[in-house]
Symmetry: C2
Subunit: 299 residues, 2 copies
């Protein structure tokens, strides 16, 4: 089954202690869509400016991503620039030019409206609502978010939570949302806000699921070197939704394995700048790391 993915489609300029890469393809929807494309047909919803490089459209197409929902508007593509510190955990934003993203209203083509799986990747909660409003009986809806929306659009976000099946956020966001330091206590509170499935991302420490079948402790695939973690969280949730949408059986039977697949795609993401490494992955590379994950966790 296909996955609808809405989120940001951007150009990322990334600086690390060893390199500087300008205007890479980035944004939550780009990372999530490419990740999901290894498992399922993807329908992308987003906006770019008329400066958006043709090579990036080609790249989406190479991954058989449906672009009927990608608007090309007069003006500049959303441009983000950031710099990582040596340990690759702390980053600071150097520049945010919203461009055409500022007035973005996602419109769903008719062919998108019945997508059974919807991933509302990181984007303003009001836009996530607007996508849901246009959908017809989606089977499984998952949203991601970021600290910015907790700060400036908390009411929208809380209202969104009651419309979701699954909610994905990172540990510091979970703390901010619930005022709980303990992740397991935080997840309990988030369930009460709506979502049946809560996943907290912990970067290189992996992720944790709380769902109807209890908790699942999902490790991150061990990497001896991280080149650029930008988009790893989006790749995780994209891979997860892509896998889930094509797996036989229900959500509960597959969500753990889906997290492992997401984690593996995220590991590839970290091994290159932007999407450079992710786009060179073969399905067999993914399967190999998933098999390794079994070895890494067996006792």
């Amino acid at each position: 089954m296909s996955v609808l993915i809405v989120g940001s489609t951007a150009l990322d300029s990334i600086k690390t202690p060893n390199a500087e890469k300008p205007r890479l393809l980035g944004g939550s929807a780009s990372h999530a869509a490419v990740a999901a494309s290894y498992f399922a047909p993807v329908k992308l919803v987003g906006v770019v400016g008329d400066d958006f490089p043709a090579k990036y459209v080609k790249l989406y197409r190479k991954h058989r991503i449906d672009l009927a929902g990608l608007q090309i508007q007069p003006g500049k593509t959303f441009h983000w620039a950031g710099e990582y510190e040596v340990n690759m955990n702390n980053r600071k934003t150097l520049l945010t030019e919203l461009g055409v993203f500022e007035r973005f209203t996602p419109h769903l083509p008719d062919t998108y409206k019945q997508s059974p799986f919807a991933l509302l990747a990181n984007i303003a909660p009001a836009l996530q609502h607007h996508v849901l409003d246009q959908m017809i009986r989606p089977k499984f809806i998952v949203a991601d978010t970021m600290d910015l929306w907790l700060n400036i659009a908390l009411d929208d976000l809380l209202r969104l939570l009651s419309r979701l099946d699954g909610f994905v956020l990172n540990d510091s966001e979970a703390h901010q949302l619930t005022q709980e330091d303990n992740l397991f206590a935080a997840m309990k509170k988030i369930h009460r806000m709506g979502p049946k499935y809560v996943i907290i991302k912990k970067g290189s420490h992996g992720s944790v699921l709380s769902g109807p079948k209890g908790h699942f402790l999902c490790p991150a695939y061990p990497l001896p070197k991280v080149l650029d973690p930008t988009g790893a969280g989006d790749s995780f949730v994209g891979g997860l939704m892509g896998y889930l949408s094509t797996a036989r059986g229900g959500i509960d039977a597959n969500i753990r394995r889906a997290m492992i697949y997401g984690s593996v795609v995220a590991s590839f993401c970290c091994e290159g700048f932007g999407l450079n490494r992710t786009i060179r992955v073969k399905r067999a590379d993914i399967e190999k790391r998933v098999e390794e994950m079994t070895q890494l966790t067996r006792f």
Copy 2:
């Protein structure tokens, strides 16, 4: 088979945002010994002052810990006081009174010298050396450490590493020792310093093994509430060594499961102040959480 455990035997005064508990039984050897006692006979090496409460000697004995190597010296027992912040991750030391610990020289009774398993719990590396010097063909030697020894006794510690089978340290210590931010890169460097087995502890994020059979990603048992994490790392390595010393088959066949057992004992440690919860555990409670760990990681 029995486990020899050397380390600190102390009184801990612990303050958290919700409570204050003076003069609890603490120290690396106390936590490790009680943890190991659930699996194997333990031979303790340490020193206490003549102020050491009789109830704590009784507590050791209740756990059938051999106290032939516990010296009682005139003077005060090592006393440490610390305070935890709300999130239970950051702590500050309020007081360190070394007392009789300052001039401690560990002497091994003859009945200890052939212990096949030795855990050199956190204590000055020179004392860890001194214990090893007295041992006769130990089968498996593991040491733990702390940042203090990296700061003031690095040469002793580096010399110790070449004498160990296994080395256990936490993530910030691994960074300090190797200057590597990446744990997997750090473990590779630590192998070159001697130990065949390197385990990095990551607190509530679990631990990672690097050994001859590759990596093992060991989760922490999920706790919705942590009362006092003091001694959790010592409980982990104590439980690990206790389990290993009685498991059938070689180290490689058992070390992963041993880490899971260590992790489970550490989880009980965190649920009470000092050793209050650990000492009330039954073997069946441990087995139940180990079984849960299987459920929590299966995919």
